[in-house]
Symmetry: C2
Subunit: 390 residues, 2 copies
Amino acid sequence: MTKPTLTLDEIRKNVSRVDSELLALLAERRQLSIEVAKSKIQTEKPVRDPAREKILLEKLVTAGKKHELDAPYIVSIFHSIIEDSVLIQQAFLQKLANPDSAQPIARVSFLGPKGSYSYLAAKHFFSRKQTTLAELPCKSFKEVVEIVENGRADYGVLPIENTSSGSINDVYDQLQHTRLSIVGEITQPIEHCILTAVDTDLENIDCLYSHPQPYQQCSEYLRSLGDVKQEYCSSTAEAMQKVAEMKSGNVAAIGNASSGALYGLKPLKANIANQQENHTRFILVARNPVDVTDLIPAKTTFIMSTAQDAGSLVECLLVFRNHGINMTKLESRPVLGNPWEEMFYVDVEGNMSSEEMQKVLEELTSLTRYIKVLGCYPIENVSPTEIELD
Amino acid sequence: MTKPTLTLDEIRKNVSRVDSELLALLAERRQLSIEVAKSKIQTEKPVRDPAREKILLEKLVTAGKKHELDAPYIVSIFHSIIEDSVLIQQAFLQKLANPDSAQPIARVSFLGPKGSYSYLAAKHFFSRKQTTLAELPCKSFKEVVEIVENGRADYGVLPIENTSSGSINDVYDQLQHTRLSIVGEITQPIEHCILTAVDTDLENIDCLYSHPQPYQQCSEYLRSLGDVKQEYCSSTAEAMQKVAEMKSGNVAAIGNASSGALYGLKPLKANIANQQENHTRFILVARNPVDVTDLIPAKTTFIMSTAQDAGSLVECLLVFRNHGINMTKLESRPVLGNPWEEMFYVDVEGNMSSEEMQKVLEELTSLTRYIKVLGCYPIENVSPTEIELD
């Protein structure tokens, strides 16, 4: 029972064959997703159909049992496949709805250098959109916005919200003063590792390089290392660059493993953040707004300032509730130069082209001193359809 | 270009065929993983080989490009496939190393009722172990431990750590007084949803049912709902039971969607927790310790109390560092009835059967007043191998 019937070489050849066949099937299924999207244009049915997805998953779990595959494994694989199918359909339909914005090359500005989390978010956003990136790393969020405003970039990528450190205030302040529109969003996992340029052991590391935020987000693990010096850098990518140049077994950078690979660094220890899961939500800004087809879910971001009495914000929020519009984020920011006024940023699930949302905007306009739609864009977060695993 | 070449019915038939072929390949790949595990017994090589995994992923990304599949998608699917392969090999090798504990039916105690997060963790843990569960829901952590101690259950499942609410103190106190061993661990995602018994809208809900912890973990979203009454229950599963019985469009439970399905509830709104990702780590306890084969990574949990001077804990932690042993968790708990003493719980990456760990135990014994190995068990958390996505 414990003797292998094949040699390791034969087993590996079989694994390679199986993997090639898996890739071909994943590609075929993607093509079929595009066909589904085309048929949805004809029938005007939404891309997602949770009831159908549920039946599909249940059928797969039943079929999987015959192969002795357990339900959690099948569900996890097919959640990824369904997510891909939804995103591919969304990208296809959005391209049709916005023919002008479909360019083969997109010039994208982000807080650099190459390898930063903003860079990874930009790559991730365009990965399913068949677009080549022209990368424009910037030195500040202000520059990211400015070079889109002046036409040197088509898109700017900005971090807007982090699960462990909260909102990125700087970016909110930029949004208050730009004419750019939000045209997309992407959620990027932030995975901090200890990265080194040469093979070494943890006990040899006596100096770390990173941006202040990762130090804060990994404080518990770093405490366990004891007496290790911390050098501050302007970004995690800069820290990686430095450690790569030193080529020493006594120094390490904290940052993302796949960025580290860009600088030839290898992870010595993965997942060192206090919170096991850490995500940053990024937005994409462009000079012109996009149309979101009503076959896919949309999000709208408002900025508004209300009258100066306590109940007026609640009045505004009731408008959303009364129209059955779900709010996904509320953030308040002081108005620079006017300490008595507050600006509110509100994200809701809804498409500005719908009658309901037009009514909401009308009612809000009469309740606020100032209101602006910062953008209406596709929701890229595909929440998985759950089934009973019993 | 936008007209589908197939009817929707034909497209769906093709999708079904592709999905069946995918399942068959996933099953074949699993069988090959067992063959790999058998050959590793012969060659005494560890189950994981990150360098090989990296080459494999890079090859797949290159091959995927020919199919117009993007790298992040391929990497995400194959991270799941590799994780499954590692866990299947670990389960196979552990079964060989512990022939006595390999029963076709495992009697498992957990904090109930059926549908609780402890129940989901138990199902998840045994899903790859070809074991049928005899479920023994309990009313307290104390009862979970007791019925394993008195032989009515083979395993007990206990939550030990939560990303958003920290350690579960009650369970640590139980561990201090039991002779049971920790024989396994499992990390379970905690996904809170608004669940209802009938189709309804969010604005109709005027009363929620849940355990105090989910209310706390979803506080931000709940604030956005405004004036909704909150009823407290002893568990999320009890809340679901109540809401299921009421069959009303005005009430909802907060809890896991797949547990909700057990009670016929449907998610009205998913992912409502403040933190997008929320995990609980569970441990499995049994009357006898397990042996962990040295082909797979092991974790060891110690409990110890040190002399009452400030430097003595640091002395102990230096023992781990000096032997290059990585600490993954440190938790202190007061000793009941003795306010001047503290107990420390320490998790480290290491196998008690190794020479290094035996030396560590020896040194710690001379430095502490009291020390006990609570258990040595396989690490079930398969950290993904990262590659450069450029």
